[in-house]
């Protein structure tokens, strides 16, 4: 299976990478783990004339959880996410998504930035990151801008990234006391499958144990991962509990807009969106009551 012909660039600084992208624009494609781009090039879906590796830019590989904002470099691998104690402690829901992505072989290559940039509607990392309120940092030769993940995904394979921009960092507000999150994905098998439905829930309780903040994000049930707005409305201002979570699940189910495909019927996915919302809220609530 032949790859198209291309020139290969391997900048070692972000500035250099931005300059290359500024020069080639839409003729260039970034490669990090390669688990998405390589397959698309082999299938001849993409034939970039220039391939720009960002794997040798040290600043894109860091994880900094020392401040109020947790910063994860775009080239941090999924395997690193799934085995990081810091992620497990602070962003368990993201860690859960990482553990369920692809296979061990894929996780060793795939990066967090690539999982966002490829913008697959069934991707494992976006729901948790959106539930945590993450934003992405986009760099180009003309500077830097930040985009909330809520506004980043535009459609299957499409994002707010401009041709000359590089997604360099993911910024996540450090979880506050009495906050928690949960993630569940369902597929046919554990490894190497495409999710049928995946949901992440985040809740934050006030001193009186009332939900003051809630974000529910569903994947696979629309062209992009998206927030279940009416489910969030059901939750905010209420005391958490199984009856409330059941109602939030029904609301999330109504918010979902799945299609029939080979992985499952729309009706099944709608049902599962509700069920997973309820179950992830249980996980989130459990974590929130234990995080002081």
């Amino acid at each position: 299976m032949l790859l198209p012909k291309f020139d290969f660039h391997e900048p070692t600084t972000l500035k250099e990478a931005c300059q290359i992208l500024a020069e080639y624009g839409t003729k260039a494609r970034l490669i990090a783990g390669g688990t998405d781009l390589m397959v698309n090039m082999k299938k001849k879906i993409l034939s970039p004339k220039q391939v720009v590796s960002i794997s040798r830019i040290p600043e894109l590989k860091k994880l900094d959880a020392s401040g109020d904002i947790i910063r994860i470099g775009a080239c941090f691998t999924v395997a690193e996410l799934s085995s990081s104690d810091v992620i497990q402690k602070l962003l368990s829901s993201l860690g859960e998504g990482a553990k369920n992505l692809g296979t061990p072989l894929i996780r060793n290559l795939a990066t967090i930035g690539g999982n966002l940039g490829s913008a697959r509607p069934a991707a494992d990392l976006p729901p948790s990151l959106m539930a945590y309120g993450a934003q992405v940092v986009l760099n180009s030769i003309s500077g830097e801008r930040k985009v909330s993940l809520d506004k980043f995904f535009l459609g299957p394979g499409f994002t707010a990234l401009k041709p000359d921009e590089i997604l360099t960092e993911i910024q996540i507000p450090a979880p506050q006391p009495r906050s928690g999150a949960g993630y569940i994905n369902i597929g046919i098998r554990k490894g190497q499958d495409c999710n049928i439905v995946n949901v992440a829930s985040f809740i934050e309780l006030n001193h009186d144990g009332i939900i003051q903040n809630a974000r529910i994000v569903m994947g696979c049930v629309g062209p992009t991962p998206f927030r279940a707005g009416s489910a969030e409305k059901v939750l905010i201002g209420q005391k958490p509990g199984s009856e409330l979570f059941l109602r939030a699940g029904s609301a999330a189910s109504s918010d979902s807009t799945p299609i029939d495909d080979l992985r499952g019927s729309a009706a099944y996915k709608k049902e599962m969106a509700g069920l997973l919302t309820r179950k992830t809220l249980d996980i989130a609530f459990h974590e929130a009551t234990h995080r002081q």
């Binding site: 390589m38 397959v39 395997a79 060793n108 290559l109 190497q192």
Partner: protein
């Protein structure tokens, strides 16, 4: 245009000229003759092209040869030493975990990386670690038994 890269494969240094669009598995098989690494799906699904790069098991069909510049690669050919086969290889032979043999290189390398990090894995951990390696003969049970027999948790 070809570019010179340096890499270590099975403890031997190589300087090779590669095309930008050449994959690591093609470099190994066609340029260096290391045909123990197999090519199956070429899409990162089957795991038959598994190699260990800088200590991590990866699909070599998804890595450009040029990206392996400066890296340390271990292929199935590098597992045997003067003392003989690697214990995981021995176990695969002993337990009948090899049928057609096409998946064996990848299976063995994935199992080796698991055992290096976790010498006493549970069956679930073994199955999880091998979940990126497909066996078309469906000889999974023997493969799991072989890995279990090498683990320190008998």
């Amino acid at each position: 245009m070809k570019k010179l890269i340096n890499l270590t494969i099975n403890d031997r240094n190589y300087e090779v000229a590669v095309e930008p669009n050449q994959t690591l598995v093609d470099l190994l098989r066609y340029q260096l003759g290391l045909t123990g690494t197999k090519k199956g799906c070429e899409m990162g699904d089957c795991g038959s092209c598994t190699v260990i790069m800088d200590g991590k098991a990866v699909n070599s069909c998804l890595v450009l040869a040029i990206q392996a510049n400066g890296r340390n690669i271990l292929t199935i050919e590098g597992l045997e030493t003067d003392q003989g086969l690697h214990p995981v290889q021995e176990a695969f032979v002993e337990k009948g975990a090899i049928q057609c043999g096409f998946c064996s290189s990848g299976m063995i390398l994935s199992a080796k990386t698991l055992l290096d990090q976790n010498p006493a894995p549970s069956e679930t951990e073994i199955r999880r670690a091998l979940s990126g390696n497909l066996c078309r003969c469906t000889g999974y049970q023997k493969i799991i038994e072989a890995v279990k027999s090498v683990s320190t948790q008998k």
